[in-house]
Symmetry: C2
Subunit: 300 residues, 2 copies
């Protein structure tokens, strides 16, 4: 058992020190330089709960910390934005391994240049980690609601890897390092989000709750339907895992010009063209069959 103040001081030493002209952990609020003129400020928050989002019998609590940060970075990626700073609030029981939890938080914050500048640390019967992130985009971000009939639909990578990784971890079967990594340490598609925006993406969303559910959200917000001819299923994953398994954190985007997409992704893996938008709002098919609104939805 350790007091909150000593723990905060210890955790602060694990994290990056403040940038010039800024005040990070240790005051009532962090003091930050504002984003450059002409930009929009982005703000999002995501919560990860032990036993709900992360099965700690198969994941380390450092992975839970990583995933809480990445869920937020993925939200910034889905706007075509660049992350700036995050605040991390941890609620947990006496004896929770805060150092290991913050190892994962710090690793993600460092890897994606989104330093932890504050947060909270409180007692709770279960581990609940909430991260809020700021970011910026020069000019207009890519919303969910801008897709137009005729726009192509792309996915930035293969689907179902995270769900397949969780299945393998739980089964105790021979582990596939790539799939388990996709579940334990997913990565946000930040360069891909910026490239999609540069390609003139009309709408974008991250696959956090499942490809089918998230594509439906985009289509409904835009007032369009869709026809898919293809789904890039990760090797080792099933079609249901690709359609409904959440937390892949790939991006789905729509755009009018395939050549612009190819050019914008010249230095990245080319996204998979999976179909196109139609004017039939409320109708979405995969090779002629209705795509179910499959995915993860909390019951609360």
């Amino acid at each position: 058992m350790t007091g909150e103040l000593a723990a905060i001081e210890r955790l602060r030493r694990r994290l990056e020190g403040p940038a010039t002209g800024e005040v990070w952990i240790g005051d009532d609020a962090a003091v930050l330089l504002p984003p450059p003129p002409g930009t929009h400020l982005l703000l999002a928050a995501d919560t990860v709960v032990e036993g709900v989002h992360a099965d700690l019998s198969v994941l380390g609590i450092d992975d839970l910390g990583w995933r809480a940060v990445v869920a937020n970075l993925s939200d910034v990626a889905a706007m075509g934005g660049t992350p700036s700073h995050c605040v991390v609030s941890v609620a947990g029981p006496v004896g929770v391994d805060l150092d290991r939890l913050y190892d994962g938080v710090s690793a993600a914050a460092t890897a994606y240049r989104c330093p932890v500048v504050g947060g909270d640390l409180v007692a709770s019967p279960v581990v609940v980690v909430t991260v809020a992130v700021t970011g910026w985009v020069a000019g207009d971000p890519v919303l969910r609601s801008g897709a137009r009939p005729g726009d192509g639909i792309w996915v930035t990578g293969e689907l179902g890897a995270a769900a397949a990784g969780l299945r393998l971890l739980r089964s105790g079967a021979a582990l596939d390092g790539r799939l388990c990594e996709a579940h334990a340490r997913p990565r946000p598609r930040l360069p891909e989000g910026i490239a999609a925006r540069a390609a003139g993406a009309s709408a974008m969303i991250d696959v956090s709750d499942g490809f089918a559910l998230d594509l439906w959200r985009l289509a409904d917000a835009s007032g369009v339907g869709f026809e898919l001819d293809h789904l890039p299923v990760a090797a080792g994953a099933t079609l249901p895992e690709a359609m409904g398994g959440g937390e892949d954190y790939e991006l789905v985007f729509t755009a009018p010009d395939p050549d612009a997409v190819g050019a914008a992704f010249a230095d990245l893996a080319q996204p998979a063209h999976v179909g196109f938008c139609t004017s039939r709002a409320g109708t979405g098919n995969l090779r002629g069959s209705a795509l179910p609104r499959a995915g993860w939805e909390h019951q609360i």
Copy 2:
């Protein structure tokens, strides 16, 4: 029982709609106009846990929502800043009264002009509400670390009311509306924080964990000691409640010029002058006796 998506849509209708040029709830991240040029951006987060920060046998879950927002607004007040936007993440069990919780959230957000622009809603065995807030200050904010020997020390109001209110609520004794309100619906001292900064405050902190503990934090961060000759105890509260009871959300600040303080608070209740800072770092007295570092510290 209700699904997350339907709940989000229902809660969105309880909250204020977006400002011109901004995108609030419903996309991956909120899109906000950045703070004015020449300002600093403030960012903070606080978590409130059912049974830890809020005893739901004596408080409504709407009060818990109010308190989660106000804890954050108070952090902005303690920098001399103005709140901009907040994101609210709620983890809770099936059947939790989200509408009533958001009544409290929305009431605080409206009262103090800090609209809810996003957040998260997830399943969890206990209610955990995390709010993150952005704010701004034109020029330099007031930190905890700027107090100098000889500076006076002020408190913006009477102490111990929130702790006394909790005691009354738990005892079932005749309720004192003012004290119970201080516990259930504390208010952030936003005008007072701005006035203190205008008065040339050298350091400031909010009384969230207890006056004595929070004053010690300010003194330690500034490398000063203090001599107190006075403590403004709220009517109905005890001296220990005034010294160690948290969540009063009064502000404690230091400043070199009493006349400037008087002038800056001309349109507000005058703050109480309680003592002065000394050069004896690590030494803090109330009328000649050492002030204990009393207050609320989470064990985690």
